[in-house]
Symmetry: C2
Subunit: 201 residues, 2 copies
């Protein structure tokens, strides 16, 4: 015997969530049924709506329920002539929170990973090339993650940008602000040496 | 800026799940939107159905979409005259998997915890008393958790059972089978000494 058919079904369905196995799914199902019925119903409704309506921005590929996301639709963001390449919509949010950047974004929704079947097409690099061809950008800023895959993706995109005559830069990597040198890993520290700059007076 | 309104809403709604904070909710939302749209829709549907239909068994209080759960409805389970008291529907499943027990269950859906406002009424002990009064049970087996609250709850229920002339037993606590003595905590080991039995020939 397991639980009642519907409860079994709920526990199984919850395991579609990343990082949720049978035990946590059971705990979640019990918590929803015992204490969070209103919240659970709200979740069911919002989830249904979100999966129905949220798609990708036709221009930058980020998640949005509009055809063009508000950021791409904002003409002020086109003034700087900058395009920042990131791997995920979360990166856009993180960069926006710094208030440092006023240009536009292109969201890859991943990185090149041939073994997982993720090639240039899956990252929408055709769209990116089209965009670079139709609009004259001054600078393309590579902000992919500093991982092996992120670096490979950055190199690949840099080539595309150069072929369209767009200048390419990469965000700086080094010791994080507020970090302590002896806690930083050797790879980062060696990057921060290679990337050293003349000390301003 | 955060994400699009609907995506923000989804990330917030997912945090109703126990153990899910803003970061995991974001990861879940992205995973559902990127790779698990079908599974996510299924989850939304099942969740809605489950919250609509699953209630408590009128007799034993476990989760079920019927009025009386299949276990209570099965006349064979009444033959032994035994009633096992557990804290959660998961405990019923665990005990059923042993195949050792053929009687019926009463599921407290928690334990006495006055500070959290969980008293005898919240655990359905009135229903339990009614059940003990209307049906003649031979034995009530206390299988609440071996925690302070579980023990207190067991003592409280034992009093109710005795007042109805029902014999009361408690499941054995001691060294788990397959465990090693030096890895078992002192409290359990001392319990296992107090509960020692004459060695069978």
């Amino acid at each position: 015997m397991r639980f009642s058919p519907l409860l079994d079904e709920l526990i199984k369905s919850l395991q579609v969530l990343p990082g949720v196995g049978p035990k946590s799914a059971q705990r979640m199902a019990f918590a929803l049924l015992e204490r969070q019925r209103a919240g659970g119903r709200r979740l069911a409704h919002v989830l249904d709506q979100a999966l129905e309506k949220i798609g990708h921005c036709r221009q930058c590929r980020t998640f949005t329920e509009e055809e063009i996301c508000p950021l791409c639709a904002n003409p002020k963001r086109a003034i700087s002539g900058q395009l920042c390449i990131v791997e995920s919509p979360a990166d856009v949010v993180a960069i926006e929170q710094t208030g440092q950047y006023q240009g536009r974004y292109f969201v890859l929704m991943g990185h090149l990973s041939p073994l997982d079947g993720v090639g240039p097409e899956e990252l929408g690099l055709d769209n990116l090339a089209d965009w670079l061809a139709t609009e004259s950008f001054e600078e393309l800023i590579l902000a992919t993650n500093p991982t092996v895959e992120g670096e490979a993706t950055a190199y690949f995109i840099a080539d595309i940008a150069r072929s369209h005559g767009v200048g390419v830069s990469r965000i700086a990597h080094g010791v994080p602000i507020g970090g302590e040198l002896d806690l930083v890993d050797g790879n980062t520290l060696s990057h921060s040496f290679m990337g050293r700059k003349t000390f301003a007076d």
